[in-house]
């Protein structure tokens, strides 16, 4: 997805929100906001939003002097999500179509997103999502592609959310699943240690994208990641950031996401807050 004009105020908002999550030093916050503003002339509209995210959150990492400023928050989100595993598994097991329910559960987990919201209530989001219809629903294509596939690349999004990804991956019995995480901590996106804390390593091989963008941008990823991206039988991409980065790649990808802003809503052509299970190819 390209960058829209409406993304510019949002970059500043994200910088402010992310700054406040690790500091209340007004000078530091101002410095980060200023750096984002000064970057504007370098942001061409054909860049994707995660490229700008990489800069913003990289700047925060640099100024904070901490490799992973959101580590505690991420651990907290993951631990809260882990407490819901038994509850969620019970809903999945009792449902008419456990695969479809697990997909919805994975999207419910997408509510854990510090870049957009930082007030979220996972149990109530689960209830809402389970009873909500998809605005775009390519489930039949998803199911038949899954049946035909041996190797699945599942691109993770946020820490905490990855607990719900695990519940979906548990449905892919006898498949080889590769779970991609960010190469460097970037806001609350999932990195290897977060994925392990969520228990993903019991059900999938974890690989790094080799990049610090909060959304996959193929040209910035490692050769190893690119090879898996090109060769996997099926790709599942979670969340808005990954959509923004790879929605225009010319291979089949299944996107699972909740539409969290007006710009994405317009890009996809659905209302804000829609649930989307969409195949692009």
């Amino acid at each position: 997805m390209k960058t829209y004009f409406e993304c510019f105020p949002c970059f500043v908002k994200q910088a402010l929100r992310a700054s406040r999550l690790f500091t209340d030093d007004q000078k530091v916050i101002k410095q980060i906001i200023d750096e984002v503003g000064m970057l504007f002339p370098d942001i061409s509209l054909d860049k994707t939003p995660p490229e700008i995210g990489e800069f913003i959150y990289g700047k925060i990492r640099e100024i904070s002097g901490v490799e992973d400023p959101y580590e505690n928050l991420k651990n907290q989100n993951t631990d809260e999500a882990l407490q819901l595993v038994a509850f969620c598994k019970n809903i999945i097991a009792k449902s008419i179509d456990p695969l479809f329910t697990a997909i919805k559960m994975a999207i419910a987990g997408n509510v854990i997103d510090l870049a957009i919201h930082h007030d979220f209530d996972i149990p109530s989001e689960i209830k809402t999502v389970i009873h909500k219809e998809f605005a775009i629903n390519d489930y039949e294509l998803f199911r038949s592609q899954l049946e035909r596939s041996d190797t699945i690349l599942y691109i993770g999004d946020n820490a905490g959310e990855s607990v719900f990804d695990r519940l979906l991956i548990e449905q892919f019995a006898h498949k080889k699943v590769i779970y991609a995480v960010r190469g460097t901590p970037v806001i609350n996106d999932v990195v290897e240690k977060d994925a392990k804390r969520a228990g993903i390593d019991k059900f999938a091989e974890i690989i790094s994208s080799g990049s610090a963008t909060p959304g996959i941008i193929l040209s910035k990823c490692s050769e190893e990641f690119k090879e898996i991206f090109n060769k996997a039988d099926m790709i599942i991409s979670k969340g808005q950031g990954n959509y923004e980065g790879i929605s225009e790649e010319s291979r089949e990808i299944f996107f699972l996401l909740k539409v969290k802003c007006e710009v994405l809503a317009r890009d996809i052509g659905v209302p804000i807050n829609s649930l989307v299970l969409m195949r692009l190819s």
Copy 2:
């Protein structure tokens, strides 16, 4: 009022909205957004938001090459408001307290604000405002100060809105009213020709602030304006922009406004969308 961190994304939003009102040239819009971003380091938090507005809208005036890029829109807003004069006068005349009703009507006119919204429905706003309680109501202080005053400085805000200011000024029988307008066109703020189109000149003397800030900043105003500001028996300030510019001046001012953003809501200590008739001194 000082500038808050939340104002920074809003400056970018305002630049985008104001740009789109006069052009659909993507390069021009990008240039304006870039210039606003690059200005961030020069915006200290002790500046008031209208100072930044002066820069943004000055840049638009410069890039558009047009002295008053919103002239047509302003004329349209004024003409629409003029069509409601008989309707409004009837409501005022039939009310128990015509002065109080005219104050509410003047605040209803404050909905005409291209810097914040550009979708507004004046007749429905009038109905809403007339039936809504003030969140801060210094009406008794307002009325008694009015009775004691001979010379009233009434600081206008937006074009179109000034038609409703006129209805209030018509209530100030036998007073000398001076209606202040912006010295230079700045978005849809009222300048002399807009005030005349609204018929203000029949009921008040029109003076220029001598400045291009979309909200009075005393240090930027002409000596003539400053003298009137200091000597007037009573000052009535309309709208959010003027509040942002002069809320910390050390003289008695009556502010009439609708609270249009979260930052102002926090600064005043009332909910967003509140109606305020407040004396500061």
